[in-house]
Amino acid sequence: MAAEGGADVAVAAPGARRERSNASAAWRRFRRSSSGVFGLTVVALLAVVAMLAPALAPFDPHATSRAAFATPFGGPHILGTDNLGRDVLSQVIWGSRVSLIVGLAAAATATLIGVVVGALAGYFGGWFDELLMRVTEFFQVIPRFVLALIVVAFFGSGLVNLILVIGLLSWPQTARLVRSQYLSHKTLPYVDAGRALGMRNARLMFLQILPNVMGPVLVVASLDVAQAILLEASLGFFGLGDPNLTSWGGMLNSAQTFIRRAWWMSVFPGVGITLAVLGFNLFGDGLTEAYDPRMAPR
């Protein structure tokens, strides 16, 4: 924090320039974290693969062929084919889309809920805080995987359902973090100053305080993406993925049956999941380094 200069300087500086210099300082610190850079690279690669899936995939991932159980690294199917003769490489490439979409959208949902709940609880305090924290605690103790599984089994496992269920079950950590940040920020002079200027609560909460606590929120959001990808893959492995889309978890579900016959059906989708989760976790480590070097893992 000392690197950012004295508080009086920051207050005197025009808002826009201060924001930019903060961001560039954060980026400088992020670049110094080798794990953060590695994570960002993996995430960026994943995003490129997901976006360009139609161009990159050599085959239609749903197209069956007579060449079932073709072995990898020889012939047109680089990573082999599955029990129905579908190209494993193309399935892995298309599967990245589901993981990335569910991961990002579910984490965004969770962050949104967490920020609103945490901000309300921390800013207003009192019985309202008590109530919201009880609800948060409830969502923290309820076993996420089991509940998600039941809800998806009851109401269908389409993409939107998966995103909503995972998002609705993943917000407590953000809420607690945001709450504690608001508890300390609401007594700071800049909030008092804003109040003296006649700003409304909503403006103070979301336009004045929120930008100052976004750093740690983004760290948790990045870790949330990783956890959401894992949860989606786990549900897919239990046969509860979107039935119309190729997902890594779903691929591992069919691989289970043919594990003695076709190792490649199980090895490659798992590499995809592990890389994606690792990428977002490391990206989160880098963000920690960038926003709060004291909290960074050593």
């Binding site: 076993p143 809800v151 786990s234 046969g239 798992g270």
Partner: protein, 329 residues
């Protein structure tokens, strides 16, 4: 607020936590009830089958199961049933859900407990080795292992272990609880079960080893700069004695709690690993119940696991207070 007598403070703290846990348990029960009410399909149809039944008979079944009552009445009925330990009836297994759960519970517990023991031991060891010389090759190796271990999905790791140790090397069985072709007795039977448990245990413990390693390392590095460690060094204690006797004791605290707070994740992991290895525990039961649409079983498991998680959290908090002489409630 008794700061001098830990016992009294702890008792009050524990009581407060137990009282706090009551609304959580009630919340879980209500969520379960709502899910039952929302479950797809008419419960009467699943009771008497698809073929047309006389309307009087349908009405009688409805009445017998209390389905003709109002929602609040049914909720009270449900809470009373749960309080008596009645979690409903499994149509696929023709058994009460409670009996079914208790039958499967032992095997899941064996898997989970041995995982926790192994993961904690190995994780602590790796964390200490890692923190002893930060930046060394050992440290980099352990840190890398922790990062990857935290990212690998348990069920995929399980498949990889089957591929390597069962399919290619043929050293260990690929699944099941015991050998079906040979009837072992006594020690041989125990050994046989142990051989079946090794791979699932390895798959399940990887993630907790990773978490424990990372946490032990981080908290050791933090503790090692504390004043009492400097004091211990100043008294001329060897670096090993400082590490194992003084630092590790303080550093192990967060490790104890992480197992407690991650209990729900161990349950989820166990469900996935049991499915991979055909281990006949609660997790495998969950997987099978999805395919047979045996919803009472799924809801029973949700309730059972939720309450267990609340209890484990309570115990973890109490344990933390007992273990850490600095904590006062």
């Amino acid at each position: 607020m008794a700061s001098e007598g830990n016992g009294g403070g702890l008792a009050i703290y524990a009581l407060r936590r137990v009282i706090n846990a009551v609304p959580l348990v009630l919340g879980v029960v209500v969520v379960n009830f709502v899910l039952i009410a929302l479950a797809p399909g008419d419960p009467v149809t699943s009771l008497i089958g698809e073929y047309p039944a006389p309307p009087e008979y349908v009405e009688r079944v409805r009445h017998d199961f209390g389905l003709d009552r109002s929602i609040p009445e049914r909720l009270i009925l449900y809470v009373a049933n749960v309080a008596r330990g009645d979690l409903g009836f499994s149509f696929a297994n023709r058994q009460s859900v409670t009996t079914l759960l208790l039958q499967r519970l032992g095997r899941t517990l064996v898997l989970m407990l041995s995982t926790v023991v192994v993961a904690t031991a190995v994780g602590l060891l790796l964390g200490v080795l890692s923190a002893r010389r930060p930046g060394s090759l050992t440290d980099r190796g352990a840190t890398g292992f922790a990062l990857v271990g935290y990212a690998v999905p348990e069920f995929w790791l399980g498949q990889l272990l089957i591929l390597v140790f069962a399919v290619w090397l043929g050293w260990l069985p690929a699944g099941g609880f015991r050998s079906v072709r040979v009837e072992y007795v006594g020690f041989a039977a125990a050994l046989d079960s142990f051989r079946h448990m090794l791979l699932p245990m390895a798959a399940l413990s990887f993630r907790y080893m990773a978490i424990t390693t990372r946490l032990t390392r981080a908290s050791l590095l933090e503790v090692m700069s504390a004043q009492y460690i400097t004091a211990a060094r100043g008294r001329g204690l060897s670096e090993n004695a400082v590490l194992w006797r003084h630092a590790l004791r303080a550093a192990a605290l967060p490790v104890v709690t992480v197992i407690g707070y991650n209990f729900a994740f161990i349950v989820a992991g166990s469900a996935l690993v049991e499915t991979v290895f055909g281990w006949p525990g609660i997790g495998r039961l969950m997987y099978d119940s999805i395919y047979t649409r045996d919803y009472p079983v799924l809801l029973g498991i949700l309730l059972f696991v939720s309450v267990t998680v609340i209890l484990v959290n309570l115990i973890t908090d109490a344990l933390y207070a007992v273990l850490d002489p600095r904590v006062r409630y």
